[in-house]
């Protein structure tokens, strides 16, 4: 037992040392932390109130007062991007939570049982994969009504098979190992083995996939809000801001430039973070998309 703890402490120090040398991880971590910080700050403070419309200030270019300019209602774009960050993160985070919460138990269960259960669950997975995710998300939100909650559910549903597949593949690679055999010989059941031995060994895989799905969730939320099915006004969202910008491209290009950059930077940060984690914890792991 002591030996086990010693080893993990040594690993932790080693992992941290590797993390500080990994450029991808450092850049990704910095960007993600910045976006998260901006979202948190927006709860307490934004340069301007995003709900107050000052028509006299409408579509002003970037200036010292309004770094990113103002929109067609005179709202400060920087402030809207800050509040929008909150919204994007919340939607993507819950959607990843849904995917992991349902997908990982399904995938590990399929791997532990094998046979018919495994086959049936994987065919179910194929079924969900046959529906282009965005198309179905558009259908779901259109049918059950537009809004952030339905967007979360729509994106979350399509995260389930992704995590199920990754968890199953990871678990299948763990099951033939000797320490599993030892655990079985000790009389442990499949559920206990899955919890104690399989899950800790596939956490890296799940973490890396989590960052990928988080990034895809942010893109999907922006897409849904852009076509009017995601977050509803007056709550600012990055996708919606781009929709508003589209018809004003000639007069106010900054309205399109900055929200798009916010999305790209956030997704870039998450992807770099995922790459970094994969490199640090398991050099052999390949990212799946």
């Amino acid at each position: 037992m002591t030996l086990h703890i010693d080893m993990s402490e040594e690993n932790l120090a080693g992992i941290l040392a590797k993390a500080f040398r990994n450029r991808s991880f450092l850049a990704g971590f910095a960007i993600t932390a910045l976006v998260a910080a901006v979202a948190i700050v927006s709860f307490f403070w934004t340069p301007f109130d995003v709900t107050r419309l000052i028509i006299a200030n409408k579509t002003q270019g970037p200036s010292l007062a309004h770094w990113f300019g103002t929109d067609h209602f005179g709202r400060d774009i920087l402030s809207m991007i800050m509040v929008g960050a909150r919204n994007s993160i919340a939607v993507a985070l819950v959607a990843v939570g849904i995917g992991m919460g349902i997908g990982v138990p399904l995938g590990t269960f399929a791997a532990a049982r094998g046979g018919f259960v495994d086959e049936a669950l994987m065919r179910l997975n194929d079924l969900v994969f046959a529906f282009p995710a965005l198309l179905s998300a558009i259908m779901i939100t259109a049918i059950f009504g537009p809004g952030a909650v339905n967007a979360i559910i729509a994106i979350g549903i399509f995260n389930i098979p992704v995590f199920a597949r990754v968890a199953r593949a990871g678990a299948l690679a763990i099951w033939p190992r000797e320490f599993i055999l030892a655990a079985r010989a000790a009389g442990k059941g499949r559920t206990l083995i899955t919890l104690e031995h399989v899950l800790p060994n596939i956490v890296t895989l799940l973490l890396v996939q989590g960052t990928i799905q988080f990034a895809l969730g942010i893109l999907a939320e922006a897409g849904l809000s852009y076509v009017g099915l995601g977050t509803q006004p007056p709550m600012p969202s990055w996708g919606r801001m781009l929709f508003d910008a589209q018809t004003r491209m000639v007069a106010a290009p900054w309205m399109a430039l900055f929200p798009g950059m916010a999305i790209a930077v956030t997704v870039l940060g998450l992807n770099l973070l995922g790459d970094g984690i994969a490199d640090i914890l398991d050099p052999k792991s390949r990212r799946q998309r």
């Binding site: 046959a130 282009p132 965005l134 198309l135 852009y226 076509v227 798009g260 997704v267 992807n271």
Partner: protein, 315 residues
């Protein structure tokens, strides 16, 4: 080989049937009666009942499903509630926009991604690789509809090289029609190319470590020949898998990108149909897209057998 093919084919068919049931069931539970929607608020209960009967809406669930699914097989999708024309006519009009768009985008992404992947893999860790993969990271992160807006600003508003949106139709000539598909295709292709380049690179790097690569080099084959003939071929399986997946992404991507460019394609059709509650159109187009995705994935499975002789020899 035959067993492998039959198994893939069976899986594809089962998936298709299940998918049709899901689509039918989802649209079945939606609130709103199409008959009432068509007749408007002033219609009497008798009129609505008559139309429901004419449209076959009062038949039992299973009967309606079988009727609908049977219709799909013979390309009879029924009539649109809002346009009052056969759905197949609407689809035929739109598919000539969406399919070329998706194919151009797919071709464009492949043509960019494979050489970039080869370039990066053969210069692993050097400046060229770092720059190319940095660009790929950026490409993955950029939302395609925003990239589309930026392209419109640059090439349509500023440089005035191509139209900002709309589609003149193929009857206006191949060149004007193609010209209006250029920007949407680039917008769709960029993120896909970025993903594909990354996958190609990592698959190649994996393969380049293999013994047979060293053997090929040792027997005096030039590096370029080894890269193209031996490494690329063996790296094709993950690349093909991603290409298949990307087709699904492209189809879904067209929905949003067609909205950016006001292109009258399938994506815009399904989007308008959803807002107009024209369920029969939604059902049909979604089924068509799903069938296309399943067919492409089947093709990818089959192409594994072509690329990888080991799969062929396995009985």
């Amino acid at each position: 080989m035959t067993a492998y093919l039959l198994k893939r084919l069976a899986i594809a068919l089962v998936t298709l049937v299940l998918a049709s049931m899901v689509v039918f069931a989802v649209l079945e539970i939606i609130p709103g009666d199409p008959a009432r929607l068509m007749l408007g608020l002033n219609a009497s209960a008798e009129q609505v009942e008559l139309l429901r009967n004419q449209m076959g809406l009062d038949a039992p669930l299973a009967t309606r499903y079988l009727h609908w699914a049977g219709g799909l097989l013979s390309l009879d999708f029924g009539r649109s509630y809002t346009y009052s024309v056969p759905v197949i006519d609407l689809v035929r009009e739109r598919v000539v926009v969406s399919l070329p768009l998706a194919l151009i985008a797919l071709a464009l992404s492949t043509v960019i991604a494979i050489p970039v992947g080869l370039f990066s893999a053969s210069r692993r860790g050097r400046a060229g690789d770092t720059i190319a993969m940095g660009a790929a990271q950026l490409g993955v992160a950029v939302p395609n509809f925003w990239f589309a807006l930026m392209l419109i600003y640059l090439f349509a508003v500023w440089l005035r090289l191509v139209p900002a949106g709309g589609f003149p139709g193929w009857s206006a000539g191949v060149w004007p029609a193609l010209k209006s598909l250029v920007l949407p295709a680039i917008a769709l292709a960029l993120p896909q190319a970025a993903i594909l380049a990354r996958v190609t690179r990592s698959a190649l790097i994996e393969v380049l470590h293999e013994d047979y690569i060293r053997t090929a080099r040792a027997k005096g084959l030039p590096y370029r020949a080894v890269l193209w003939r031996h490494a690329l071929r063996n790296a094709m399986i993950p690349v093909l898998t991603i290409l298949g997946l990307q087709f699904a992404f492209l189809l879904a991507g067209t929905i949003i990108v067609e909205n950016v460019f006001y292109l009258p394609g399938l994506g815009r059709l399904v989007f308008q149909a959803i807002t107009q509650r024209d369920l029969i159109v939604v059902e049909s187009v979604v089924m068509l897209l799903v069938a296309a995705v399943i067919a492409v994935n089947l093709l990818v499975d089959l192409s594994y057998a072509v690329v990888d002789p080991r799969l062929r020899s396995r009985q």
